[in-house]
Amino acid sequence: MQGNTACAEGALAAGCRFFGGYPITPSTEVAEHMAAKLPKTGGVFIQMEDEIAGIAAVIGASWTGMRAMTATSGPGFSLMMENIGFAVMTETPCVLVNIQRGGPSTGQPTMSAQGDMFQCRFGSHGDYSIIALSPSSVQEMYELTIKSFDLADRFRVPVFLMADEIIGHMRERIEIPPSVPRVERKPLARGVLPFHPDEDLVPGFPQFGMGYGVHVTGLTHDERGYPCTTSPSLHEELVKRLVAKIESARHEIADYRVTNPDAEVVFITYGSPARSVEQVIHDNPSDRVGHLRFRVVWPFPEKTLWEFPNARVFLVPEQNLGQMAREIERHTSVPVISLPKLGGALHTPEELKRAMEAWR
């Protein structure tokens, strides 16, 4: 099965019943598969006039209680930024799939990249936190899409599946489980203010049409949901909570794989470069090379770096100029070496072996 198809199948298995989007290479197969399958499940597929409208429709649908998603790539992702901030501010659960291609601008529509890792984290204006996952196989396109919906509902936040063209367009073997457990959106308890957070800092969800009479606004709002834009303390409290509900749960959200934790030379990857590192480790078993692979990239799980107490160096191959390498560097005194690669080609195992040998 193709990665993009597996993503759509994962969404359907997770109970996603709304897709709003706009065609863009190399993500289009996600939309096409949803267009074919959603009507048969009682769901709604709508191709909007642009990506701005796509994410807007998804947010609207989410307020009716539906699991909703969109899929896009670089230019479309850029267009979505304002409404992503709106989803953050209004605490709207939604899933955005980004099959990353070479940028900036129109760049390389059909070639792989990981250049949007910071854009998904910081691309909309203001301070906020989101959750981002990165699959490195077709199997994970399926599994992590499902996980994205659970996280979106659990934390009431936009969740990004940050895949790349290689994983999106690759076809490989996949095992589909007979059933998928689901984390439900916590409803708002009656009598509680609609934006009053529970202990986990996440408010219950007041679904539209259920008589809550909730006002949802992108303006700074109080716990009633009413605009209140001139109180410095209220704004600070709201934004800090929106960030804290994600960041304080980052070790709960963390999802990663560790290979050879006693290693001195350690690769850190997410997405398709993980496959090259796995090949290096497989081909050189006596070298005891370490590998930390993130399945969740944001919120950044810095404690995972402690899994390698003997690390002398972290080697970070990415299809960008060192975006996550920079983030890793902030959290460790171990030297972090970025191994950037642009243009769409994947790091070859030989290249990584050479990089590794320079540090032995």
Binding site: P109, T110, I166, H169, M170, R171, E172, R173, S272, R275, S276, E278, Q279, H282, A345, L346, T348, P349, E350
Partner: protein, 179 residues
């Protein structure tokens, strides 16, 4: 045993579909692992198209082909872009009706496009002839496996045409000019 198969031709010949069918045969009907990838540009028709399949009895880690041992080449441009670098130990199945160059490695000449047109009346099935020849020459997947994968993948109503093409591929490979 890892096999790397590279297909190349021009857009519209079904280069990507060929790889998808081969990968499907390996995974669904031979119980092996396979990864299928492609390089494609903006054009849906024409241009040099390339796709690849890795087949292994072990899980596949690095998903891209590095040194293909099997080439299926269906256009001169595809040969020049992706076929020239074939190593001496590789085998190449080439559509001799469209490819004029010949590699240093072992190769089999299959006039797939001509045969598709003249014998089957539809040049669209040239890629299936090539797939049949590939399987006969390399044994990279079983003959039953490729047959079932073809049936899964082709449009309804074209099954018998495609099976004829596959069998023609088997025959051409058996009597084909192996150099």
């Amino acid at each position: 045993m890892r096999h790397e198969v590279r297909f190349s031709g021009f857009g519209g010949q079904g280069i990507i579909l060929s790889a998808v069918i081969l990968g499907r045969a390996a995974v669904m009907y031979d119980g092996n692992y396979a990864v299928q990838t492609q390089v494609y540009g903006p054009e849906a028709r024409g241009g040099a198209s390339m796709s690849a399949v890795i087949i292994d009895d072990q899980p596949i880690l690095y998903p891209k082909v590095t040194t293909p041992d099997i080439f299926v080449i269906m256009s001169q441009e595809g040969y020049e872009k992706y076929g020239v670098q074939a190593g001496e130990n590789a085998v190449m199945i080439l559509d001799s009706s469209l490819v004029h160059s010949r590699p240093r490695c072992r190769y089999v000449e299959i006039p797939a496009t001509r045969e598709a047109k003249q014998t089957l009346g539809r040049d669209i099935v040239a890629n299936i002839i090539m797939l049949g020849a590939l399987v006969k020459v390399s044994g990279v997947v079983g003959e039953t496996a490729i047959e079932r994968a073809i049936l899964d993948s082709v449009p309804k109503g074209t099954e018998s045409l495609n099976l004829k093409a596959m069998k023609l591929g088997f025959e051409l490979a058996e009597k084909g000019n192996t150099v």
